[in-house]
């Protein structure tokens, strides 16, 4: 693949402070699953990567974190952009990936091929960044999810548009592996929310 100007443009204008602010959103998000937060980013990531997903890549990826891209992202300049800005290598092996980015509409058939960690080291697992159409705090369009588990007082309802149909089944399988399993960050344009493996998802 030749590096196009697309891949070289963008990036945080204030990398130190912007990555800190995106990280704090992710930290608060992991600590309070289902909390919808909006990032402000000038990262200029190439299509079809969303602004939130792009900011997450710039914040967390580097040469130590092999990145897996779904088919739709892999054929765009996203891979070259992440490589240029973060130094991360791309991998086609899901099991090697520390981070995986999936574009909207990509329907994962299984989470089991991603790194799930071992019983001794459950932290060595993939974090999946999954783009959906929209995230809502209040009833409206989309599928209702009732979340519970650590970080949530009783339960929290969220509405997700464009969640893959297989998600519920895959998440139940993932939850059953605890403490192993993947963690998911749902992104929709500039919005994001986190679903750590501890979260139970009801309909």
């Amino acid at each position: 693949m030749t590096i196009t100007s697309d891949a070289l443009s963008g990036g945080f204008s204030e990398p130190v402070f912007q990555s800190q602010s995106v990280f704090r959103m992710l930290m608060d998000g992991m600590a309070r699953p289902g909390l919808i937060q909006r990032i402000v980013s000038d990262a200029g990531q190439p299509e079809p990567l969303g602004p939130a997903a792009g900011a997450i890549a710039l914040t967390l990826c580097d040469h130590e974190t092999p990145v897996f891209l779904s088919a739709g992202l892999a054929k765009s300049t996203v891979g070259a952009w992440i490589g240029f800005h973060t130094g991360a290598t791309l991998t086609r092996e899901k099991a090697e990936a520390r981070f995986a980015f999936l574009e909207a509409g990509a329907a994962p058939t299984s989470f089991g091929l991603f790194a799930l960690g071992s019983q001794e080291y459950p932290d060595r697992s993939t974090t999946l960044v999954l783009e959906v159409k929209a995230l809502h705090e209040e009833a409206g369009a989309g599928q209702k999810l009732t979340l519970s588990g650590p970080g949530i007082l009783q339960s929290r309802d969220i509405w997700v548009e464009g969640l893959p149909e297989s998600f519920h089944r895959l998440w139940i399988d993932n939850r059953a592996l605890f403490p192993r399993g993947i963690d998911v960050i749902l992104t929709a344009d500039t919005d994001l929310l986190c679903l750590p493996r501890t979260t139970r998802v009801g309909a």
Partner: protein
Amino acid sequence: MTELASYNFAYLDEQTKRMIRRAILKAIAIPGYQVPFASREMPMPYGWGTGGVQVTAAIIGPEDVLKVIDQGADDTTNAVSIRAFFQKVADVAVTTHTADATIIQTRHRIPERKLSEGQVLVYQVPIPEPLRFLEPRETETRKMHALEEYGLMHVKLYEDIARHGRISTTYAYPVKVAGRYVMDPSPTPKFDNPKMHMSEALQLFGAGREKRIYAVPPHTDVVSLDFEDHPFEIQRFEQSCALCAAHGVYLDEVVLDDKGGRMFVCSDTDNCEDRREHGHSGEMLAPSKEAAE
């Protein structure tokens, strides 16, 4: 401003921060599990809170307000030097008031005042492995966590009862987090254990020398291990604070002379000062200046 080269914001380089941040996210996703991380040399010796300092450095931003306590006190050496460190390398606002802080780094106490949503409590941890004194091999303790095999810890507590008639562990009292991992709450007095349960604040633990980070998310079960016939109990003090007359808080004993003179004062200095400002006074509080004049 000086033209001299300065440190990166919050001292650590960006790659180190990313590595620590990834460890923190996994730690929150697996409550109570110790995530290994590549702990760095810090400009202070191991044992001075290098784990907590690295966690704080990785999460802190220019908008944060930092409070640092050492055994509940804002004005002891460790707290003062860490606070000064972050003022220098991150130029952040600092406070001694628990309610005003967004990040509270602590060595072995949890503030008396209830923490609120959005606050982060960062613990400095000397030995993160609760099973370490029972089983010195890391390979074995890791397997015990993997298999959820915590019988040895109960044997230890039982031996306490057999020897002393009660569970004599008073600090670093083991807890079970979210029904899965047994965790060392760092050497906080067991008085503070109930404050960890269902806390509204996020709790992060950093062990620099031992290279481990772990976490307890807000609204998470933290249960102190015990037995049905020997339930977990916290320390109770007969005295009240000699300066602010507070009851039901953790007290430090201060020896005053060599004739048996002593006083009990609040370990949490901010809480004590706040109470005195609100007119509470203990038996040994010096009369206020106006009254003396």
